[in-house]
């Protein structure tokens, strides 16, 4: 048990930080204000990610054969912390790096890997995730979008909702039902669908998160070849269980929260308000929540780094991350109410905007509690 960073880890972090300081443009605060899913930030990512790729800072943990450098999982995570804390200049492409690329490498055909992975490794691909539907949110296994086999093609009909990045994405990682309507988890398959395919329509949904971040996506007689299917029919659930364990801990939100908390304390110091014992207690409580979230995420990353499957540890980490974000937000609301509008620093506003999102994106925290109860505490399933 060793909870210290090695000298190499620290040097790596310094290198990433120096790169960001050097390469992020002067108006980055203005661009990132719109949020990682915005058109502004997505366009920026298509310029910035190729630079990261060139510097070996986009997919260092991927195998060398696929454009990476076989670097340790921990470096990937340090990279993620620095990117998120800087406002996520990778935009939506963080998803490629964290889970879409690795999922394709593990389950894709050679042709699929060759088609999609080099583009991701070069920083030129934006994907969206076609999971939720109007009647299948937390109960994802009840999704109704259908993919019907027609010769060498599938014809897809249905709709997806709350899809992040859809308006700017070139590809969709889509879940659709190939089995009977009642087939549940066993009747779902994954399709890698170009968003330019005829029959796809995207409508933005006004949201709390940032400009143009979530969408409705309609599929009307969308025809894709059988070769667009990832894995076998019915294999989707086991594939996405693997992917989502990575996604749940994919965004190091505690790092941003901890830095916003530090900034808030700086402001309170400057205003000579930090001598108030109540403020000191609440600041430490928020800091404890951030550090708790950090350690619980690291525990899951450590398992992954050792090549072990990550299960309920990811759900435990997600719940702690949601609590940390809320603790920092509440601290700001209670003791720096005048920073609501982000007048003091754009990070404050971004944090306020994201705190509620944290507990919903990648699976509501309450759903995670159910997963913890069943998979960690081994409590019996609720009677139906």
């Amino acid at each position: 048990m060793d909870f210290r960073w090695t000298d190499e880890d620290r040097a790596y972090r310094a290198r990433v930080r120096a790169f960001l300081e050097r390469e992020l443009p002067a108006d980055w605060a203005e661009i990132s204000r719109h949020g990682p899913g915005s058109r502004e930030q997505t366009e920026f990512s298509l310029e910035f990610c190729p630079k990261l790729a060139e510097a070996g800072l986009l997919v260092p943990h991927w195998p060398a054969a696929w454009g990476g450098a076989d670097r340790p999982t921990w470096e990937h995570f340090i990279l993620g912390e620095e990117m998120w804390a800087a406002g996520e200049p990778r935009g939506a492409q963080y998803m490629n790096v964290n889970w879409i690329g690795p999922t394709l490498m593990r389950f894709g055909t050679e042709a699929q890997k060759r088609r999609y992975i080099p583009e991701m490794a070069a920083g030129r691909a934006v994907w969206c995730q076609g999971f939720s539907e109007p009647n299948a949110g937390s109960d994802l296994a009840s999704l109704r979008t259908r993919a019907v086999r027609d010769g060498d093609d599938y014809v897809i009909n249905g709709s997806k909702i709350w899809t992040s990045y859809a308006a700017m994405a070139q590809h969709c990682f889509l879940l659709a039902r190939t089995g009977e309507a009642s087939s549940g988890k066993a009747g779902i398959a994954i399709f890698l669908v170009p968003m330019s395919t005829p029959g796809i329509e995207v409508r933005p949904i006004p949201s709390l998160i940032g400009h143009g971040d979530i969408h409705e996506t309609f599929f009307t007689d969308v025809r894709v070849p059988v070769s667009a299917r990832l894995g076998e029919e019915g294999q989707a659930w086991s594939i996405i269980s693997y992917s989502l364990a990575n996604e749940r801990i994919g965004i190091p939100r505690y790092e941003f929260a901890a830095r916003v908390l530090d900034r808030m304390v700086e402001v309170l110091h400057a205003r000579q308000a930090f001598s108030d014992p109540l403020i000191q207690v609440r600041a430490a409580a928020a800091s404890a929540a951030c550090e708790a979230a950090r350690l619980l995420v690291y525990r899951a990353v450590d398992k992954r780094a050792r090549g072990e499957a990550v299960g309920a540890e990811a759900s435990i980490a997600r719940v702690a991350v949601a609590e940390a974000d809320n603790a920092v937000t509440d601290f700001g609301l209670d003791f720096l109410p005048d920073t609501f509008a982000g007048l003091d620093h754009p990070a404050h506003l971004a944090h306020h905007e994201r705190a509620i999102v944290t507990s919903i994106a990648a699976g509501a925290a309450e759903i995670q509690l159910g997963l913890i109860a069943r998979n960690w505490l081994e409590l019996p399933r609720e009677a139906s």
Partner: protein
């Protein structure tokens, strides 16, 4: 960054876990329905085999002592581990054990009636004394520890050559380990109960409200455990105060929920739940409680700000 124990730590904890399965460590009603079950046998067995000296071993360290304290605090029987394994190596390796730690000489302290020595944290510096016959007055209490006061107050306590701030910080981590272990012991017992106990025609543990609250408790306890381990390893004063503040802050809600789901059974002395929950309640006030410990963390964390 490595969460898995090294080879020596893994072997140490595996043997410890085996001992924790021994008959001496199992639940049995205490003599005359006492609130605690002091296991002199298990305590002596662990001492004889050198467990309490692990912090001094280079490949084990204080982090292993913290992991041991957490595990032993989760047993239904009581042994004295936190002070012996985490504080004694730092400031008085030769003190006979069990060791009681006294925050304030006027207040009853856990373990005093079974202790052979005591470390006193109040006043100037850190002092210690070997306890002779008749030095301790036992105090009846509900908190599931043998507790007592010093008959002769601070007389006989001699200064130790140790930095008081470091001793206090290490004691914070030790208390946090003990408290998190108590909550884990209680959680495990309640989880086992709600898996088996049927009401309304189904296991209690299948009710979503119970699942979610126990999952939330498990999340807080896991967080507390890792905050403890990190603090034990970093020896950073801010980490130490944060670890104790966090578990003290979390404990009230967890204790409340554990008792809710154990119902009337948890009000009897025929089930050990009270041993963990009452200890946790007592430790909630240790070293000034969550407020004081969080303030200490704040002062250290943002001193330079």
């Amino acid at each position: 960054m490595r969460f898995a124990p090294n080879e020596d730590q893994a072997a140490f904890l595996a043997v410890l876990d085996q001992l924790a399965q021994a008959p001496e460590a199992a639940w049995k009603p205490a003599r005359e329905w006492e609130r605690f079950d002091w296991s002199a046998e298990l305590d002596a067995l662990l001492e004889r085999n050198g467990f309490f000296d692990c912090a001094a071993e280079e490949t084990l360290g204080l982090v292993t002592a913290a992991a041991m304290t957490y595990r032993l605090a989760g047993l239904p029987v009581l042994v004295e581990c936190a002070a012996s394994s985490m504080l004694r190596p730092l400031c008085a390796p030769d003190l006979p054990r069990p060791v009681a730690v006294i925050e304030d000489a006027g207040r009853p302290a856990p373990f005093l009636p079974v202790a052979r020595s005591a470390i006193l944290l109040s006043g100037e510096g850190v002092r210690a004394a070997v306890l002779g016959d008749g030095a301790v007055e036992t105090v009846e209490n509900i908190f599931a520890y043998p507790m007592g006061t010093l008959r002769r107050g601070e007389a006989g306590f001699r200064p130790l050559d140790a930095d008081p701030a470091t001793v206090r910080d290490t004691w914070r981590v030790a208390l946090a380990a003990e408290m998190a272990g108590c909550l884990k012991g209680g959680l495990d017992a309640v989880v086992a109960h709600v898996r088996d106990r049927h009401q309304f025609g189904r296991p209690l543990g299948s009710f979503q409200v119970i699942q979610h609250r126990l999952a939330a408790a498990a999340t807080k306890i896991e967080a507390s455990y890792f905050l403890v381990l990190k603090a034990a390893q970093s020896r950073d004063p801010a980490d130490a105060a944060l670890a104790l503040g966090h578990v003290q802050d979390a404990s009230t809600r967890i204790v409340y929920d554990l008792h809710q789901f154990m119902g009337a059974m948890g009000l009897t002395l025929e089930h050990p739940l009270h041993r963990w929950t009452y200890r946790a309640r007592l430790l909630r006030s240790a070293l000034g409680g969550a407020g004081a410990n969080y303030r200490a963390a704040s002062a250290r964390r943002w001193r330079a700000a």
